[in-house]
Symmetry: C2
Subunit: 185 residues, 2 copies
């Protein structure tokens, strides 16, 4: 069975939504995610140099990763993928020590059908060897030896090197193609 | 630069010592580690079926992994290895959610010269692709595609398939041989 590594942030979980909510809580100003997509920026880049540090600091606060919104259709599609592939959740948790337990709980809650044996919390991802990696960061795909798949996000709009998936329905379509090509379905 | 994945428990950290200490705290009975080596058993196997569950339960208690004793010479040898290889600490932390922050702090304390980017907390290790893996569990070496190195422990005495290292001085000797063979030193 082939293996798929799936990133968490901006792929199955939605920290951008939390950035937007906390920023509104602290300043009263609501930034729409469409605005990030229009400008091709991460939230803390969008606000400009003078805010970048303090907004990025949200990531280090206890609770930032707790109960993050989940990407639409991700549960259903991963349930389907799980029948044909071995799934690993591979997330860069190490920069944010506070995130680890929250991420663990989040996975247990939303994906109880995937064992903790299939979680990988890491710093870098270049030593992960699976057949596929679905990730929103081009830098992770560049060092990956298997087939990289780019999950559409404001900060990766200009990349054309990897197959791009805009939502989980498109992930399913991509892998239906792969399975057909291999004669599995 | 070649990459070495290094396991934590019973390789750089010493949970067996904690098992022994907590068991003595709870029962007044001191089991020497030499006894585990003599019988070739994990601590909770050594005590017999009727104790196995409750003793293994220590692993799930908050604090079990906090300030674990460190294996002799591991800091000095890993400092030396770090000059010739990329080091990753790869540990099965996922079964014990409570262990993650303690393991993180422990690595930061004892190995401040290795970046958090080089930590991997996982369930299984078969998707880790480095050149070497130093581990005390034969099952992890069996599924590993690079060169496995078995770190001597009571529960692996009968294995002869992998090069065995009995302490960190022997790890250094092993890699001095590898570097010589490659003409690097």
């Amino acid at each position: 069975m082939k293996q798929i590594a799936i990133d968490m942030d901006e792929v199955i979980a939605h920290p951008n939504q939390r950035f937007i909510d906390w920023y509104e809580r602290d300043t009263g100003v609501r930034v729409e995610e469409a605005e990030l997509f229009r400008t091709g920026k991460k939230f803390y880049q969008y606000l400009g140099e003078e805010f970048a540090g303090s907004i990025r600091g949200y990531l280090f606060e206890k609770g930032f990763f707790k109960d993050l919104p989940i990407m639409e259709d991700s549960v259903e599609v991963i349930k389907w993928l799980d029948q044909h592939y071995e799934i690993f959740f591979v997330t860069s948790a190490m920069e944010f020590k506070n995130s680890m337990e929250d991420k663990y709980d989040w996975l247990q809650k939303h994906f109880p059908f995937i064992s903790w044996k299939q979680y990988v919390f890491c710093g870098r991802k270049d030593m992960i060897s699976t057949d596929y990696l679905i990730d929103d960061h081009v830098s992770n795909l560049t060092t990956f030896k298997g087939q990289g798949i780019l999950y559409h996000a404001p900060h990766n709009l200009d990349n054309t090197k990897y197959p791009r998936v805009k939502n989980w329905k498109e992930v399913r379509t991509f892998f239906e193609g792969e399975l057909r090509e291999e004669g599995i379905v």
